[in-house]
């Protein structure tokens, strides 16, 4: 009766040793299988620097506005060719003659010479009546739209692109008249892009439902197009 308890107390370590041997053998077997499955292609070294940057122009095409394009072109015409001997009338609130194509809707600012100088026609006029070069159109707008100008300088108004980090690259900031037609500054309604869930552009044909498993196994399902549809209607069958 003295020997039996001794063998009982020694049995657990022996079982652990046997289990450990089994686990080790299993790991060896797994490593062998993984080595067999691994392809000959081992890791390759790649150069991670000097990757090309993506230069994709973002943003929608603007609404082609004839007048706006004229302004963006930089006033490449001379007003005095027509206006050299005209008596300037301060009263008209509509565009006539050569200007009839312009659309005018600038709120209470409805006089030509509020912005254009009366005698220096290729220049603008400040609120004090001074001549403002045509290149200073931002200042001209800021004369009335001071809060917008302040926000534009601060970053809360206007489109931006390029680099937010000035130490890396340059920030591109649009001027007022890039987005706003000075004669009709309000934005026009634009067409929205389609709601989500609608495919746009050329894409692969959509996958079959529950195609995830197929894709994991990388065996694309072969589905005949005809099996996706019901039987063809009879020739003499009328639509309901």
């Amino acid at each position: 009766m003295d020997d039996a308890p001794e063998t009982r107390t020694e049995s657990p370590p022996n079982a652990w040793v046997a289990g450990g041997v089994l686990v080790a053998l299993g790991l060896v077997a797994y490593a062998g299988v993984a080595w067999l499955l691994s392809s000959a292609a081992q890791s390759r070294t790649t150069v991670t620097e000097a990757r090309p940057s993506l230069a994709v122009p973002f943003g929608p095409d603007r609404v082609p506005l004839e007048t706006l394009q004229l302004h963006k072109a930089g006033f490449a015409y001379d007003c005095d060719e027509c206006h050299y001997d005209r008596v300037r009338d301060r009263t008209p609130r509509t565009f006539v003659g050569e200007h009839s194509k312009l659309e005018f809707d600038h709120g209470r600012n409805d006089r030509c010479f509020n912005c254009h100088h009366e005698t220096e026609l290729t220049s603008f006029v400040t609120a004090a009546g001074d001549v403002l070069p045509s290149t200073d159109h931002v200042k001209l707008c800021a004369g009335c739209h001071g809060t917008q100008h302040r926000d534009w300088l601060g970053g809360a108004h206007g489109r931006r692109s390029g680099f937010w980090d000035r130490s890396v690259g340059t920030l591109r900031r649009t001027d007022c008249i890039v987005c706003h037609d000075p004669h009709r500054p309000a934005f026009r309604p634009i067409e929205p892009l389609p709601p989500p869930g609608v495919a746009v552009g050329p894409v692969h044909p959509p996958l079959e439902p529950h195609g995830a498993v197929q894709q994991i196994l990388r065996t694309p399902p072969v589905v005949e197009p005809d099996t996706l549809r019901g039987p063809a209607p009879a020739p003499d069958e009328d639509a309901p």
């Binding site: 020997d3 063998t7 020694e10 022996n14 079982a15 040793v17 046997a18 041997v21 089994l22 077997a29 299988v33 993984a34 499955l37 691994s38 390759r44 991670t48 990757r51 090309p52 993506l54 994709v56 973002f58 809060t147 917008q148 601060g154 970053g155 809360a156 108004h157 206007g158 489109r159 931006r160 692109s161 390029g162 680099f163 937010w164 980090d165 130490s167 890396v168 987005c179 934005f187 309604p189 634009i190 067409e191 929205p192 892009l193 389609p194 709601p195 989500p196 869930g197 609608v198 746009v200 552009g201 050329p202 894409v203 692969h204 959509p206 996958l207 995830a212 894709q215 994991i216 990388r218």
Partner: protein, 315 residues
């Protein structure tokens, strides 16, 4: 031989290696090895599709630079094999002393969805159906009623009278509920504030999608459908590299762009300039100007997520 009991130990040390003990151990060992081999048999059937390195890849935080280079090279090879496009996959690290924030002026947003489609193109999200990170909500003017908001609006032109539009994307919260619920730590918040997903670590349980109060996470129920000719080949591991099926994805503020100093794609696409972005630690940044001078608010402030995405109304 007096201690030879039927229920005795497998190997009796006092007995030494006897024929009986040896046969016992050999039988058990053979059975064990056979069982292990049988359990691994399905791996053999995967053969060509089984990628050992992808299977045994470590967590993003445990990869050494050399291992990360191997992973990136492998991902580029996979993209080349899948789409036939030379995609570069980088691991863009966060900048020091930088925390990103976003501001959106609801007063000038017209709801044209240009941002959502620019994002789709930039981030290689699935095209069929369109899996867009940005969801633009159309709401009645006078209040922010998310329950009656419509994100499927499709009028001829926008903005419609009496409506306003609120784009919603990942808010990169300072207390992100999505990362808390991840059971495998496949999503986390980076030092610069961006919440990212390791697509190779995600198990696709979608807990994070359920936890997000802004519906900012998207799940790849199927393999993403991409047009190889339209793919963005400048990708990063944590943002816009081609994703496998069955993983979560989300807006990362265009991590691969902003960590190089560039603006996010959605910002550059906005035709009205409603979006602003920058480093809140920089007192001269645009985002700081807005946060200091505009009356900004966050969406669902009551849920306590502390978003880094701010809205404001301004002319």
């Amino acid at each position: 031989m007096s201690q030879d009991a039927p229920n005795g130990p497998l190997l009796d040390p006092e007995e030494g290696t006897t024929r009986r003990n040896f046969l016992k151990a050999a039988a058990v060992t053979t059975a064990g090895v056979g069982a292990v081999a049988a359990s691994l048999a399905p791996l053999r059937e995967l053969d060509a599709t089984f990628d050992k390195e992808a299977w045994l890849q470590k967590h993003y935080h445990e990869l050494t630079p050399a291992e990360m280079d191997k992973v990136l090279a492998r991902l580029e090879d996979e993209a080349k094999a899948e789409y036939g496009v030379d995609v570069t996959v980088r691991d863009v690290k966060p900048k020091a002393k930088t925390k990103y924030a976003y501001a959106l002026n609801l007063g000038v947003c017209v709801g044209c969805r240009r941002c959502a489609y620019a994002c789709e193109k930039e981030n290689n999200t699935s095209r069929a159906p369109g899996k867009q990170y940005i969801r633009v909500l159309e709401m009645e003017q006078g209040g922010i009623d998310l329950e009656t908001a419509n994100h499927q609006y499709d009028p001829e032109t926008v903005p419609q009278p009496g409506k306003f539009y609120m784009p919603v994307q990942c808010h990169q919260c300072d207390k992100p509920p999505c990362t808390k619920v991840c059971p495998v730590n496949a999503t986390w918040k980076e030092p610069d504030g961006i919440v990212v997903v390791d697509y190779n670590w995600c198990i696709g349980c979608r807990y994070c999608e359920a936890a997000c109060p802004y519906w900012a996470r998207r799940f790849n129920f199927e393999k993403p459908v991409l047009n190889p000719a339209d793919m963005n080949t400048d990708t990063a591991y944590l943002s816009n590299r081609p994703r496998p099926v069955g993983v979560m994805e989300k807006c990362t503020f265009c991590l691969h762009r902003v960590r190089e100093g560039r603006y996010p794609a959605c910002l550059e696409a906005c035709p009205t300039g409603a979006r602003a972005f920058g480093n809140v630690y920089d007192p001269k940044s645009e985002i700081r100007y807005i946060l200091e001078n505009k009356r900004v608010f966050v969406l669902k402030e009551d849920v306590g997520t502390l978003p880094n995405f701010f809205y404001y109304f301004d002319a």
